[in-house]
């Protein structure tokens, strides 16, 4: 409990981490309160062809898109999709990656090597490409995007957990606890997990940003949720043929992505600085 308080106060003093928190809060608010905050909540489905491609104005704060729908309102509903994808994909990656990393780190020998090589396999091809392949195979849809991202992101968790577990094993307290006869289970849950919680949390925060970017890329390539879903990446792709005149159409969703990912990155950096300064400068830890 005191650790949590410690984290919060230290974080509170880090200005950029605070900015990150604010941005994330804005995203969550936008997503939760979209129906209330939107000026044209029906425009998620509704079309107004006679009002297409209007510049930002009092009636439409961020202009209208190719179907005449309000860009601002669709952006808010797009936030829901963004959060959903991010949370579930990162959550699933965590659930898959952490146990694998623990197993690999705890054991020595070929089993551990095998697990790490399996994670290498998934890292060998750029995540985007693998996600594209999976999304294309299964068909573009929201669940499939989440699946594709989870399947390709878990190795990052596995790697971090593996490295930390190995490092911890050398620590005296672990050796002595094991010598005292504590079961591996007990060891893991009571001693190892709390100590690797920090890198996992940091990784999760950075992972949110990374996953959201990849999800947007998939949406941009047309492999995300189908129309008329107001997914941010897809909206950017739609806007291209109307540039440079309807610049707001492309600028708004892009900025939304930027601020969201920035929020998670800043928070992740701040958490890392607070929770484990040792990690701050390790080059191999990022991604």
């Amino acid at each position: 409990m005191s650790t949590a308080w410690f984290v919060v106060t230290r974080l509170g003093r880090d200005r950029s981490a605070l900015i990150g928190l604010v941005l994330i809060a804005l995203l969550v608010l936008a997503a939760l309160l979209a129906p209330l905050l939107a000026t044209h909540p029906d425009d998620v489905f509704e079309l107004h062809p006679s009002e297409r491609l209007r510049a930002p104005s009092g009636a439409h704060w961020l202009g209208t898109d190719r179907m005449g729908a309000d860009v601002y309102s669709r952006l808010l509903f797009g936030a829901r999709i963004t959060i959903l994808i991010g949370l579930i994909a990162v959550g699933a990656s965590l659930v898959i990656g952490v146990p694998i990393g623990l197993l690999a780190g705890y054991h020595h020998g070929w089993a551990s090597d095998l697990l790490m090589r399996v994670s290498d396999i998934f890292l060998a091809v750029p995540q985007v490409v693998l996600a594209i392949a999976i999304a294309q195979t299964l068909g573009p849809s929201l669940p499939n995007v989440i699946l594709a991202l989870s399947v390709t992101y878990w190795p990052w968790f596995a790697r971090v957990v593996y490295a930390e577990t190995r490092a911890l094993q050398k620590e005296v307290f672990v050796e002595s606890t094991a010598a005292l006869g504590a079961s591996p289970w007990r060891l893991t849950v009571l001693h190892v997990l709390p100590n690797i919680a920090s890198p996992i949390i940091v990784r999760a925060s950075i992972g949110m940003g990374f996953t959201i970017l990849t999800a947007a890329a998939l949406g941009f390539l047309g492999l995300g949720p189908p129309p008329p879903t107001p997914e941010w990446g897809r909206t950017i792709a739609e806007s291209r043929e109307f540039l440079p005149d309807a610049w707001w159409y492309a600028a708004a969703p892009g900025l939304a992505i930027f601020l969201t990912v920035m929020g998670f990155n800043l928070l992740g950096d701040g958490l890392r600085d607070v929770l484990d300064p040792r990690l701050r400068r390790s080059p191999a830890r990022d991604g």
Binding site: A124, P126, A133, F258, N265, P283, A284
Partner: protein, 335 residues
């Protein structure tokens, strides 16, 4: 000795890892809903003809048999033919590789030549305006969607200002080339107008690709330099009154460079992943667009071929980076 052990250890796992990668890709590529054999047979083929073609291409045999057959041919250097272009995959890949290499190398150069000095300056002038500005840049660099950055750059520099072309490598056909790298070919043949045109076409995609790499480089160079600056021996030398520029040159730059070397692997990963999306935005005829169009067209062999190529490169680069890490900093624990 440790190096050797590590290298051997990795090499031992090289083949199984690659194999695993191939299995995964094989399974994914064969599970596609669209039937590429029917696509190739043509719009008007009857089911009987499609089956005949399937038999001819060997796709009617059980999957494990097909896989083993693929491996056997791979060992002979035969990646098979693209179902669509009817050309050997290897030819397709080599044909498109120069485009991606050129883009990636130019982006890498740009990020290194700009990033390292900025990182050093940022560390030396810590908390200055420049430092703060750069730190904003660094955080942005990893938060901007690459495809969006590319589109915005197009919007500003191509459409509004007209300074650069919109996309592609060159308008139309290139002058007959030697390496396929247009900058190099143009330089070798003294064709400066093509050189300038190719550079103009490279400007925006390379900038787009370089941005996240640049941000990462600045960040880690800065961190590395700060590390060194606070290390004991530098403090000692400063206490001894050694002039600052000398300290900078002697220790900091060198450590910055070594930190870069270890970053190459990471950079490479960022650049390769970014290349796929950047190529899509700029219609760049490289490996990225080849991979995406092969996947979208269910071109089995092309997808496998690309995966083999990407996998080999990745594993090799990873190995080299890990080796370099061990060489450079024995304290860094590597699995």
């Amino acid at each position: 000795m440790r190096l050797l052990a590590l290298a051997l250890h990795r090499l031992l796992w090289f083949v199984p890892t690659l194999l695993g990668l191939l299995v995964v890709t094989f399974v994914i590529s064969r599970v596609v809903p669209a039937d590429p054999v029917a696509l190739v047979a043509g719009e008007t083929a009857t089911p009987a003809q499609v089956e005949a073609l399937r038999r001819q291409l060997g796709y009617d045999r059980p999957l494990p048999v097909q896989f083993v057959d693929y491996l056997a041919r791979l060992a002979r250097g035969d990646m098979g033919e693209s179902l669509f272009t009817r050309r050997p995959i290897l030819d397709d890949l080599t044909h498109r590789l120069p485009a991606t290499i050129e883009l990636t190398v130019v982006a890498m150069l740009a990020s290194v030549l700009v990033g390292i000095p900025l990182g050093v300056l940022s560390a030396l002038w810590r908390n200055s305006l420049l430092d703060h500005a750069l730190r904003v840049l660094t955080v942005s660099g990893l938060a901007i969607a690459g495809f969006w950055l590319g589109i915005m750059l197009q919007l500003l520099f191509s459409m509004r200002l007209g300074w650069t072309p919109l996309n592609g490598r060159l308008p139309g056909f290139p002058p007959r080339g030697i390496t396929g790298l247009y900058l190099v070919d143009a330089a070798l043949t003294w064709d400066w107008s093509t050189f300038v045109t190719a550079l103009a076409h490279l400007a925006l995609p390379a900038a787009t690709l370089a941005f996240p790499a640049l941000a990462t480089l600045v960040r880690f160079t800065r961190a590395g330099v700060l590390d060194v600056m606070q290390s004991n021996f530098v403090l000692y030398e400063r206490a001894m009154g050694l002039p600052r520029p000398l300290i900078v040159w002697k220790y900091i730059l060198r450590s910055a460079l070594t930190s870069t070397v270890t970053q190459i692997g990471l950079l490479f990963g960022i650049l390769l992943a970014g290349a796929v999306v950047t190529e899509a935005v700029f219609d760049w005829p490289g490996i990225g667009t080849y991979a995406v169009s092969s996947i979208v067209r269910s071109d089995y062999n092309a997808v496998m071929g690309f995966t083999v190529w990407a996998g080999v490169i990745f594993i090799v680069v990873n190995l080299l980076v890990d080796l370099a890490l061990t060489l450079v900093d024995p304290r860094e624990r590597v699995s």
